[in-house]
């Protein structure tokens, strides 16, 4: 471990009460190779400048709240080591494509709204009585949706998506991946309901397959895959419905 070394971290500052627009402030802090960017921000908050605002909670890549732009890339700051940048400077900015609330804190209401639109929960036409026991699944049924269930709602994929930057109406990568996650769940019966939101011009058909969402996703959810698969499935369904109605599911 290196000692006595320092690193420069530059962070976006913005106070809606005091600032006309966002600006950058640099801090020189002690460097340790086992520190992550979030540790550095917490060091600044505790010992240098208590006014710096940012979100975090679990410090272990689970809660999804510490996403920021680190040297231009949407990143979980609790999973990004200073040693990967040292001795260079680190620039920490808020996630792109979301309105800025203060410093590194963004307004996530748009994402929360879109998440609700895809109904990310199990929908049943009729619930089984408790006496009939749990809804059981085979390992193969679990495998169908497991990858998409890893999403931690960190919104890095939205910050990386040029389509969302251009067209804020776009439902976006994570909401579509989570919609697909429930559509693939053998216990769920809400697929037709969700497709009314997913298979629209603001849903899957807005995606031009840049693919950056899957590159930045810290949980290998691969939302780009969820979108392309839904495109293929709904296209096949459309053909079945219009050309081969007797084959309709």
């Amino acid at each position: 471990m290196a000692s006595g070394e320092s690193i420069t971290l530059t962070a976006t500052r913005y106070s809606p009460e005091a600032d006309v627009e966002p600006w950058l402030q640099s801090y020189v802090i002690p460097y340790r190779e086992d520190m992550v960017v979030l540790d550095a921000l917490n060091y600044i908050k505790s010992y240098v400048d208590g006014t710096l605002s940012f979100r975090w909670s679990c410090r272990m890549g689970i809660c999804g709240s510490c996403g920021m732009t680190v040297n231009g890339t949407p990143t979980l700051t609790c999973a990004s080591f200073l040693r990967d940048f040292f001795p260079g400077e680190i620039v920490v900015e808020p996630l792109a494509n979301f309105p800025l609330v203060r410093d590194l804190v963004i307004d996530m209401s748009d994402f929360m709204h879109k998440l609700g639109m895809v109904k990310p929960w199990i929908i049943r036409d009729r619930d089984k009585p408790v006496t009939e026991g749990e809804y059981r699944q085979t390992p193969a049924q679990l495998e169908e949706y497991q990858q998409y269930s890893q999403c931690i709602n960190c919104m890095l994929c939205y910050a990386a998506c040029p389509v969302y930057a251009m067209e804020p109406e776009f439902l976006g990568p994570a909401a579509i991946a989570l919609g697909r996650r429930y559509n693939l769940d053998s216990r769920d019966e809400g697929a037709l309901d969700r497709l009314k939101v997913l298979a629209t011009s603001d849903g899957i058909w807005d995606c031009t397959f840049v693919g950056e969402c899957s590159v930045v996703c810290p949980k290998n959810v691969d939302p780009a895959k969820a979108i392309q698969q839904t495109k293929v499935d709904t296209t096949i369904d459309w053909y079945k419905q219009h050309l081969l109605p007797w084959m309709r599911r």
Binding site: P22, W23, G72, N97, L100, A140, A165, P168, V210
Partner: protein, 154 residues
């Protein structure tokens, strides 16, 4: 209506660092966004391919149409295609077609959900299958061109 549109706060520009912002109610993509990384640049080249392929297809339609106007008109058109500007265009169109095909087939693995003997077929296998299909189809076309034509043309 989306929160981004409704809100008049500052929004950080995608792919521009450090610290460039736009107002939330203004369009959010700076013209140079695609220069931020190699993947964005490749995506733009993939999209640009469509322009070359559209021009090439129009050119092909014209060529087919000239068949109706007789041998002389057709041969004049073909002769023009051998001039340097057209040759450069054909090389560019071919390169873009190749780029588009390769990037499309790499992405093809993400599309279909296939099952074989009760197990999901992996993305890698689907992609490999797509490349194999492409190679076989290209070979078939090549053989048809080499041995299926009259031979004395071109």
């Amino acid at each position: 209506m989306s929160q981004i549109q409704a809100n008049s706060a500052w929004v950080r520009n995608i792919a521009v660092s450090p610290n460039r912002y736009h107002r939330a109610d203004e369009p959010g993509l700076v013209p140079t966004w695609w220069r931020a990384n190699r993947r964005f640049a490749l995506y733009m080249l993939r999209e640009l391919a469509s322009v070359f392929l559209a021009v090439w297809s129009l050119r092909l339609l014209r060529q087919l149409n000239l068949l109706r106007q007789g041998e002389e008109a057709y041969d004049t058109f073909v002769a023009k295609q051998r001039r340097l500007p057209w040759l450069l265009f054909h090389i560019s169109a071919f390169s873009f077609a190749l780029l588009h095909s390769v990037t499309f087939l790499i992405a093809a693995g993400k599309g279909p959900t296939l099952h074989f003997m009760g197990r999901k077929v992996s993305e890698r296998t689907i992609t490999a299958g797509a490349f194999a299909g492409w190679a076989i189809a290209s070979l078939a076309v090549l053989l048809a061109l080499l041995f299926g034509g009259r031979g004395e043309d071109t």
